[in-house]
């Protein structure tokens, strides 16, 4: 059982981690999707290759968002309860 102020700080940290951690992946994945659309409009016959590459790139860019999620859940359920 932690002090109230420690629990409050852990919960605030969880919100900060997930909130700001979600900015980067969101912007980055959007750029990937935008460029994939441009690519499909130039060469529609390569649409499946472009979509696959886009999804791989987005998955890598997603990883930091998942780190944020893990840290936020850790802070909430280990130190915030």
């Amino acid at each position: 059982m932690e002090d109230a102020i420690v629990k409050a700080a852990a919960l605030l940290g969880a919100g900060l981690a997930m909130g700001f951690g979600a900015i980067g992946p969101g912007v980055g994945e959007g750029f990937a999707a935008g460029k994939a659309c441009e690519g499909v409009s130039r060469r529609p016959e390569e649409a499946s290759l472009l979509t696959r590459t886009m999804l791989i790139g987005q998955a890598v860019s997603e990883s930091t968002g998942i780190y944020s999620l893990v840290i936020a859940l850790l802070l909430i359920f280990l130190f915030g309860k």
């Binding site: 900015i23 959007g30 999707a33 994939a36 999620l69 859940l73 909430i76």
Partner: protein, 255 residues
């Protein structure tokens, strides 16, 4: 609730003036931050439209109409923020420590949450204007693609609005009526989480929609493929916003 000094101190304070303070502060944050995105996005949209008209003056009527439609959609996140600011100003809640956190959280959620969606919808409109300027015959396809993309870009603002409304009206459901300092900070943290978390996905989905609009203008016959790529890519870029939404819900309902 634990019996340490912070929790004990929280019981012995008259929270009424502090609570009014956070209501007005939250309203200011909601409207002040919430106006950034819509303003920048609509200005960017108008700039791209003017640029397109200077290249293709004969399409001026179409371009102006598409600009106004696009700006109206980009405005929605700003209107969400305005509504939230009104709600926070005129609410008459039970004074307590937890309500303070909830109102600050509601203001942060809606204010920050409107930034990305406003800019993103503006980017989509701007790229649509550029595309129509190059190829005015495709305006029907491009407008539909723009509206779909702007809807996708606005969804993070809707998530933020949901959390802000839950936080602002929680007292109607007997939540946030006590003086637990942990619950107060948790409510504020939930608002900050979904607010900041909505910035990136809103902007990213707007960029994806912009690419799809320009692509449709370049090659209207690839319309269906472009729509599929835009929706898949935009949905993946929304995923982090959904994580933030889940964490905000946990912070509100499981603490």
């Amino acid at each position: 609730m634990s019996g340490d000094w912070l929790s004990v101190a929280a019981q012995n304070i008259d929270w009424a003036p502090f609570m009014r303070m956070t209501q007005y502060l939250g309203a200011g944050l909601a409207m002040g931050l919430g106006a950034i995105g819509a303003g920048v996005g609509e200005g960017y949209n108008a700039a791209a439209t003017v640029d397109a008209i200077s290249r293709q003056p004969s399409a001026a009527g179409d371009l102006t109409r598409v600009m106004l439609v696009g700006q109206a959609v980009a405005e929605t996140s700003g209107i969400f923020a305005l509504v939230m600011a009104f709600v926070l100003i005129f609410l008459t809640p039970v004074p307590c420590a937890e309500a303070m956190g909830a109102f600050l959280g509601a203001g942060l959620a809606m204010g920050l949450g409107a930034v990305g969606s406003g800019v993103g919808a503006g980017v989509a409109g701007a790229r649509a204007a550029a595309g129509i300027g190059r190829n005015p015959r495709t305006r029907g396809h491009v407008t539909i693609m723009m509206l779909l993309g702007q809807g996708l870009a606005s969804s993070p603002a809707v998530f933020a609005l949901v959390i802000a409304v839950v936080l602002a009206f929680a007292q109607q459901f007997q939540k946030y009526v006590g003086n637990d300092p942990v619950a107060a900070v948790s409510a504020m943290s939930a608002g900050l989480c979904i607010g900041a978390g909505a910035i990136g996905p809103g902007f990213g989905a707007g960029v994806a929609a912009g690419g799809a609009c320009e692509g449709t203008a370049r090659r209207p016959e690839a319309n269906n493929q472009l729509m599929r790529v835009m929706l898949v890519g935009g949905a993946v870029s929304q995923s982090t916003c959904i994580y933030a939404f889940v964490i905000a819900f946990i912070l509100i309902f499981f603490i």
